[in-house]
């Protein structure tokens, strides 16, 4: 069928979708008697116009990069991993174990250890649905969703009955030792000129960016990535080529779960510095929207994660400085997901029609 030019496909379609989402959000605001212009001003002011705002926006962005990459790796293998939330929760458990039970001399070593723990625990949580999919044909969407609930319950049990220090009331682990505290962006030479107050965004941001590069290299430069993408495009063709389906499903899901788990070094180790209940707080689900909007490409994911980081932080500002209810942030996120994800085809068709109005001279013979 008719195609859009590449620049329109990667830039114009998301932009138009975003504008439509903003437009509908403005209508909703008008309908509840609020001023849309004030809302957008507050959101931009609070998330992008101050160093402190950026400190939060980038913190959220970091988490979303991890969960977005997690969805993408599985997606390229033709698997829809909705279990990022549960895998991130379990990743938090891995971080807590490493930080609490191993005496670390320095935060950099602790970071390596905690990252390993986070990835292993996240991967382990993805391994069971992956195995059930590969060997029993149990649909991965169903099993990963259920594993989110199981993971949540497991964490509640562990935090209330096992890991809670004696004499404490709240379901959380003890504070991690000071040697495991990660430097925030305000602690870094050079960056501290910009971030003059402590911010939650921390060194994990760079790990997230490195992970984006690594995922790109994995998918488009290695044989494993080639096999993952081939399997994801066509299982039948993969069988013809002799690509082992069980292996690809398992490996792709382990990497996916590991990436989701890695998110925990950002929120658990980098920010909370102890493990709390519901530590992932929805970032696993946001990852699905980030991957959708980022077209399952690491560059797109970093940009989409930044957008959702802005929406998250800007939404929080709305709740703080205006009488717009905090729920509005969920409405806005929902609209963005709706227009960039679900209604993508609608926007695309619209643009195809518009482009068709300006036909170019035919360049090639019929193929």
């Amino acid at each position: 069928m008719e195609r859009l030019p590449r620049w329109a496909d990667v830039a114009l379609v998301p932009f138009v979708s975003l504008m439509l989402a903003a437009f509908v959000a403005a209508l909703v605001l008008l309908a509840i008697g609020q001023d849309p212009w004030e809302a957008i001003t507050v959101m931009v002011q609070g998330s992008l116009m101050t160093a402190n705002g950026w400190g939060y926006t980038l913190y959220y962005t970091t988490s979303f990069i991890f969960t977005g990459l997690a969805v993408t790796v599985a997606f390229h293998a033709g698997l829809f991993n909705i279990g990022g939330e549960g895998q991130a929760l379990l990743g938090g458990l891995g971080v807590a174990m490493v930080c609490l039970f191993i005496p670390w001399p320095h935060w950099s070593l602790a970071l390596i250890g905690a990252a390993t723990g986070a990835a292993l625990f996240g991967a382990a949580w993805a391994a069971i649905p992956a195995y059930l999919q590969a060997k029993r044909g149990s649909h991965i969407v169903i099993t990963t969703i259920m594993f989110n609930y199981i993971g949540g319950s497991l964490m509640t049990f562990l935090l209330v009955d096992v890991l809670r220090p004696q004499g404490k009331m709240d379901p959380a682990t003890a504070e991690f030792p000071a040697a495991t505290h990660l430097p925030s962006l305000a602690d870094m030479p050079g960056l501290n000129l910009f971030f003059t107050r402590d911010v939650p965004a921390n060194v994990t941001l760079f790990i997230a960016l490195a992970a984006a590069v690594a995922v790109w290299a994995l998918l488009w430069r290695t044989r494993l990535g080639y096999q993952i993408r081939a399997f994801g495009k066509s299982e039948a063709a993969a069988r013809y080529a002799g690509i082992n389906a069980t292996k690809i499903i398992m490996v792709a899901m382990l990497i996916s779960g590991g990436l989701a788990g890695l998110m925990a070094i950002n929120n658990v180790m980098g920010d909370a510095e102890r493990l709390l209940g519901n530590s992932a707080s929805g970032a696993g689900f946001i990852g699905i929207a980030v991957a959708l909007m980022g077209r399952n490409h690491p560059i797109g994911i970093v940009l989409a994660a930044l957008l959702f980081g802005f929406l998250y932080q800007g939404g929080a500002e709305l709740g703080m400085w205006t009488s717009i209810p905090i729920e509005m942030r969920i409405v806005v996120q929902g609209l963005v997901i709706l227009f960039t994800g679900a209604l993508d085809v609608m926007v695309r068709m619209l643009l195809v029609r518009i482009f068709a109005l300006f036909p170019k001279a035919p360049r090639a013979e019929a193929a």
Partner: protein, 516 residues
């Protein structure tokens, strides 16, 4: 706008249609006289299907006009086409498998919410149509119980029931035995004699010669000629299609078979529903020999290729150069087969042979992606080397356009097949499995692929050729085996058999006419 000569059932004037940069139809003019069978022939990608899709309302032409019986007619969708009296029989039937013939015929044109009246009316009409056009189909049979030939007749009945005066058939004989094809042509002649107008789209020159009154030839989106069939010849039409002289006969020297390369004993395959599809097949292929497997699609040929190619578990015994090949479990996969020296051009290039979203260079290593020559180091593939390799293969096999980064889906059918063939032929295999090597491939590419196959044979490879095209089997094979219902009906020497005998064997009769 009346005033067009209304002796024409269909007139297309100046039809053009572009898909992005590709001009699929360029200023097409065609006039089809009422009550004739009009063939449209052309290579794959010549624009036949696009033109018919415009006529049936799937696409909107960028410019041009359609006249039906002399009246300018807009056809924005298929409903409008049906109202204009156009019926289409697609290559892939659009029937509900677990409905009866009657239910399929009235689907979408019921008279009301309650079906009884519609069914009764349709039954009467169907009986009349069946008798009139030699279409004998049991109105109460379930579609899934009918042969492919009968299913096709149901499609024709559907069109007639919707009062089609103009019938378009898209590659109608691809799935039929020679006998069924002959029957179809008798039906079409009957319809024509009753005043219906028929457009027959095909790439088979023989069918054009047998069945049509006039023929239009398309090439690269343009209509190059319309001639009276009786005043033309297959050679002349082929030349018009391709734009140069074409060798229709395959040029080859007699085979000089060597040692047995592949030996298959009592090979059996069950499908996922545990139905036995291959019921004990045994044969040998020698080095420098092409064994052709003839048969109507769906009689176990696909399973034979899949089992030998490591795509499907099987039982029995298969040896390659004396070494046993595992038929299930470890070692029974596509990669192990390739390592053992088996190359495989699969029957379905879209499903198996290619990943359409992948670029040409990614497809050129498909199945051979573990090959050390494509790795840069332990971690990364050597994409530059693969692209260079792709450029070389594209040149040797004349793939057009020779752009390695173009997605496979952007190539025409013939060029897609050349990509697969280039990949598999260039691996220097001992055994080559080839399924439908020229399905949906244009004449020029067919000629090329046939030459390459013969060259491989002459280089001492063993070749197993599966094709539903009898012409192809007859002209390429050194020995022919006919497959029916999962079994081999017998072996024939291509020099001492003919389509008639093979056709009978394909229908389950032995050469002497009795049932097997």
């Amino acid at each position: 706008m009346i005033g067009t000569d209304s002796n024409f059932a269909i007139e297309l004037k100046g039809i053009s249609k572009a898909f992005g940069p590709v001009q699929a139809n360029r200023d097409i003019n065609i006039a089809v006289p009422r009550g004739t069978i009009h063939g449209i022939i052309g290579e794959n990608g010549a624009g036949k299907s696009t033109l018919m899709s415009i006529l049936y309302g799937f696409y909107k032409a960028d410019s041009g006009q359609i006249f039906i019986n002399g009246t300018p007619t807009a056809i924005p969708d298929s409903q409008a086409a049906i109202r204009a009296g156009i019926g289409m029989v697609f290559q892939h039937f659009k029937l509900v498998q677990n409905f009866t013939v009657l239910e399929n015929v009235i689907l979408g044109v019921e008279d009301g919410a309650l079906l009884n009246r519609s069914l009764a009316k349709a039954r009467l009409e169907l009986t009349r149509l069946s008798a009139e056009y030699e279409l004998d189909v049991d109105p109460d049979a379930l579609i899934e119980d009918l042969s492919v030939g009968h299913q096709q007749r149901v499609e024709i009945l559907k069109a007639l029931y919707r009062q089609a005066d103009i019938l378009i058939l898209d590659e109608p004989t691809g799935v039929l035995t020679p006998d069924e094809a002959d029957h179809l042509f008798r039906i079409l002649h009957g319809l024509r004699d009753q005043g219906k107008t028929i457009i027959l789209i095909t790439h088979k020159l023989r069918e054009i010669m047998e069945a049509t009154d006039n023929v239009s030839v398309m090439r690269r989106g343009t209509m190059v000629a319309t001639v009276k069939t009786a005043e033309s010849s297959p050679e002349a039409l082929a030349e018009l299609m391709v734009g140069r002289k074409v060798l229709l006969e395959v040029d080859k020297v007699p085979a000089t078979p060597g040692e047995v390369v592949l030996s298959v004993q009592d090979l059996r395959v069950r499908d996922e529903q545990r139905v036995e599809r291959l019921k004990g097949v045994s044969f040998d292929i020698r080095a420098g020999e092409i064994l052709g497997i003839a048969g109507v699609a769906g009689n176990g040929q696909s399973e034979l290729l899949a089992a030998l190619g490591g795509m499907m578990a099987a039982t029995g015994s298969v040896t390659l150069n004396g070494a046993e090949l595992p038929l299930k479990g470890a070692g029974a996969d596509g990669q192990s087969r390739r390592l053992a020296g088996v190359a495989h051009v699969p029957e379905d290039r879209h499903h198996h042979g290619l990943i359409l979203d992948f670029s040409a260079w990614e497809n050129v290593v498909f199945g051979y992606h573990y090959d050390p020559k494509y790795q840069k180091n332990a971690l990364f593939m050597d994409n530059a080397a693969i692209k260079a390799d792709t450029v070389a293969k594209m040149e040797t096999f004349d793939v057009r356009p020779p752009i390695p980064t173009l997605p496979a889906s952007s190539f025409s059918g013939g060029n897609q097949q050349k990509i697969v063939v280039a990949r598999e032929f260039e691996q220097d295999p001992d055994l080559l499995l080839v399924g439908q090597p020229t399905r949906g491939v244009d004449i020029g590419a067919i000629e090329f692929i046939h030459k390459q196959l013969i060259a491989l044979r002459d280089a001492g490879k063993a070749v197993l050729l599966v094709s539903v095209e009898l012409d192809e089997i007859l002209s390429l094979s050194d020995r022919i085996a006919v497959m029916f219902d999962g079994k081999l009906m017998g072996f024939r020497d291509p020099a001492q058999t003919d389509e008639r005998e093979l056709g009978l064997m394909m229908a389950g009769m032995t050469g002497k006419g009795e049932a097997a």
